[in-house]
């Protein structure tokens, strides 16, 4: 009984304290009224269009392409006023049911994130000719692997190798030890395409300036190199990066999503070692390591998603592939930020020249992983 009184008194006190914390919204605001009040601030005409997204098994908080895609979707909701919905898949077996759910939810455009969704998206596009589909990082192909064009299916592709070529060129020019390194998370085309361009950029620098900067972790000709085995375990990235640093590497490009942060940690510990970020500008997204981010190879998945939704919501959906290039800024390298003063002017000029040459088509950067 004594205990009971004590608990009662205590909970009474807590209740009073908590009651003081929050007041109910004013009488005119019904439950849910608060919501309208907050979302009413940036007024966008609601558009009668529903854009939906199905993630791959990484989920929307993977700090990589699912997340970028979801950001593009959210931006479309905020700026275009379209309705959105998105579902996460936990495994490959979830793709088809999730796409079916989105179709049942009357989505006008359904975007699949990642090459693993190719078959499910393609099947859904064939079965539902009145719904439009888009697929990130893969084009469509038939059973004999010949490319096919779907009336209502748009591939969103990226010539990532062009941007990582520039990053490789800069890295080779900035390396004091003459050794740079890269590694991947899992050997997937969307990963090795970064490494191919990086390797070519270094090669180009060596040809241009008669140096022999070495690349560790990737052999473009053999299409083989070092991988941590997943996109989760940062410790693996840290160990691998340490190994590269021990072998003299002073610039590392980790193509492994969050695993790359492990490499950044190893680089920071070592001093004098810098990092080339991937997907987004790491100077901004990884503030802990901004002082060692030389540049980043950016892949604007969010922008591609946004543009696709914009076109579709305006009734201009086409099945022509969207290809992110240096020209349309679907890909690119991030500013040098802290390194800006350290990068020699002639290297910057050279990078600009190369950019122009790639845009004009004079210089072609190729990768077996390119779609």
């Amino acid at each position: 009984m004594k205990n009971f009184l004590r608990v009662a008194a205590l909970s009474g006190a807590v209740a009073l304290a908590l009651a003081a914390c929050g007041d109910a919204p004013d009488d005119e605001a019904t439950p849910g009224g608060e919501e309208t009040a907050t979302s009413a601030a940036p007024t966008v005409e609601p558009v009668d269009f529903k854009a939906c997204m199905v993630s791959d098994s990484g989920g929307f908080e993977d700090k990589s392409f699912n997340q970028s895609g979801a950001e593009g979707l959210q931006r479309a909701a905020d700026e275009l006023g379209v309705e959105i919905n998105k579902v996460e898949s936990t495994a490959a077996t979830d793709f088809t049911p999730n796409i079916d759910q989105m179709i049942a939810d009357k989505c006008d455009l359904i975007i699949g994130v990642g090459f693993l969704l190719e078959d499910p998206i393609q099947a859904a596009a064939t079965a539902n000719p009145d719904v439009n589909f888009a697929l990130i990082d893969s084009s469509f192909s038939d059973e004999t692997f010949a490319p096919v064009t779907l009336e209502n299916g748009k591939p969103l592709l990226f010539n990532t190798q062009e941007a990582s070529f520039l990053a490789g060129y800069v890295a080779a020019g900035m390396s004091a030890t003459g050794t740079v390194a890269t590694f991947g998370g899992i050997k997937l085309p969307s990963v090795t395409i970064f490494m191919d361009g990086f390797a070519d950029g270094i090669k180009q620098y060596n040809t241009d300036s008669g140096t022999s900067v070495k690349l560790l972790g990737w052999d473009k000709d053999k299409q083989d190199g070092q991988f941590t085995g997943d996109f989760e375990n940062q410790a693996n990235g840290q160990n691998l990066a340490k190994g590269f640093i021990d072998q003299g590497a002073d610039i590392i490009m980790p193509v492994a999503g969050p695993v790359g942060l492990g490499a950044a940690a190893a680089a920071k510990d070592a001093g004098d070692v810098s990092i080339v970020g991937v997907d987004a500008d790491w100077f901004l997204t990884a503030p802990d390591y901004s002082s060692i981010v030389l540049t980043s190879v950016m892949k604007e998945i969010g922008a591609a998603v946004f543009d696709t939704i914009k076109e579709a919501s305006e009734g201009n959906f086409t099945s022509d592939p969207y290809v992110g290039t240096l020209e349309n800024e679907g890909i690119g390298i991030a500013p040098f930020h802290d390194f800006d003063s350290k990068v020699p002017a002639e290297l910057k000029t050279k990078v600009d020249e190369l950019t122009q040459q790639i845009i004009s088509g004079e210089l072609k950067i190729e990768s077996p992983s390119q779609n």
């Binding site: 929050g22 849910g32 919501e35 098994s57 759910q101 692997f145 992983s369």
Partner: protein, 428 residues
């Protein structure tokens, strides 16, 4: 018949097979694992149902807690508590309604086909759970805690996939051969664990867990080699399974339900016959009840371990074939999803009996299929479904907890009944 190693005056002469061994009172006690397992498997149906109810209630709390409206209302809980309850009620009820609509019958659908599609989805998703669960159940009843269904499913899928992609045969040969390959693949993988246990005493839990990891990396590797990789692709994905090796669709093109479901039913009947009617099943159960006693009674415990694992692996391999030849029609590194682990829960929930496993598999298939709708329609994170499943197994594994929550009487007399039924079972 061999004589017991420790002569015991109370032991009647071991003339009748089995009876002697189990009724012996002074025998060495069975290993702890077997006892725990048996306790879990022998708890009543009521506890099972209550465990599911409890899991649904607790998941409801979680759904409410994760809901934005509830969080907003909670800020002023003590001035208008009813707002919070109203928001929580609407969040939880809409989530569970969506779960039902996605798993059983879609009341929003415009056509009858669309309305019953969820039920067929539930059946489709449950196929690998039932098949792998049946296999695990056999192991549990034989006292083997086989955690390796995941790896066995993967190996089954690899073998089935290889036959499907590389052989060009007419359908009446291709599908059976691919299924057979799956049985062999899964069986061999599990057989390794059984063999090591029988030969060296290596614990099956550890060996099967390690074999799971090996299987995961094996399939990831094979998908980058011509063994399984789609020749036109640089992505780790196989070619599509040709029509001749696919499980035929049961209800036409509008539904994904395929003949794998019939395989699951047949497998359930087979397991019922095997465990309940055959001599081999009798040996398995005797080994599970008390391996020392079984050995005394002249049953080769080691051979039983190997056979149990072979059968369990074969069933898990069939589960893998259902995925690659039926549901997915393509092989990726993700083929087993989390089926191998969910199947453990299914087998425990079904208390390792074929019929129970069948319905437990359907229930988990429903949770999974309904989870998609729940996420799509109410924004409830799909992870809630995983939590729900985990809670079910947590409560199943702790019957005293469920009894305490619902103030059920402790099963005093039931213990005697359980003991008696074991004796009866073994004597049968």
């Amino acid at each position: 018949m061999s004589t017991p190693p420790l002569p015991d005056p109370e032991v009647p002469p071991p003339a009748a097979t089995g009876t002697a061994a189990v009724t012996t009172t002074d025998e060495k006690p069975p290993p702890q694992g077997n006892t725990v397992m048996r306790e879990i498997l022998s708890s009543g149906w009521l506890v099972t149902v209550l465990a599911v109810v409890l899991a649904l209630v607790l998941s409801g709390v979680l759904i409410a807690a994760a809901d934005d409206d509830v969080q907003a209302a909670l800020k002023y809980f003590f001035s208008q508590p009813m707002d919070t309850f109203a928001a929580a009620w609407s969040a939880v009820s809409s989530a569970y309604v969506a779960l039902f609509q996605g798993a059983v019958f879609d009341t929003n659908a415009e056509t009858f086909t669309a309305a019953i599609k969820p039920l067929t989805e539930t059946m489709t998703v449950s196929i690998p759970l039932i098949l792998a669960g049946l296999g695990l159940g056999i192991g549990f009843r034989a006292g083997l805690f086989n955690i390796g269904a995941q790896g066995q499913i993967i190996l089954g899928a690899i073998f089935a996939g290889w036959v499907a992609f590389h052989l060009d045969l007419p359908a009446y040969l291709h599908l059976p051969l691919a299924m057979l390959a799956a049985i062999v693949g899964g069986g061999l993988w599990a057989g390794i664990a059984g063999f090591l246990k029988a030969r060296t005493g290596a614990h099956e839990v550890i060996v099967t867990i390690m074999l799971n990891s090996i299987a995961v990396y094996l399939i990831a590797y094979l998908l980058t080699t011509p063994v399984l990789q789609n020749p036109g692709s640089t992505n780790p994905i196989s070619p599509a399974v040709p029509k001749s090796a696919q499980y035929p669709l049961l209800l036409g093109d509008s539904f994904r339900l395929h003949a794998g479901f019939i395989v699951a039913i047949v497998a359930a009947i087979f397991v019922w016959w095997l465990m309940g009617r055959s001599t081999i099943g009798f040996k398995f159960r005797a080994v599970g009840a008390n391996p020392h006693a079984a050995r005394t009674a002249g049953i080769s415990v080691n051979a039983s371990y190997v056979w149990v694992m072979l059968v369990a692996g074969a069933l898990a391999g069939l589960a893998g074939s259902a995925q690659v030849l039926g549901t997915d029609k393509v092989l990726t590194a993700d083929v087993a999803a989390s089926f191998g682990f969910d199947a453990i829960t299914v087998a425990l929930l079904g208390r390792s009996k074929p019929l129970g496993t069948f319905f437990a598999g359907l229930l988990f298939g429903a949770l999974r299929a309904g989870g998609f709708a729940m996420q799509a329609r109410t924004g409830t994170p799909i992870d809630v479904v995983l939590v729900m499943q985990s809670l079910v197994v947590l409560f199943i594994a702790a019957p005293p907890l469920v009894r305490a929550v619902f103030r059920l009487p402790a099963p005093g007399p039931r213990k005697a009944r359980a003991a008696r039924s074991t004796t009866k079972e073994v004597a049968a």
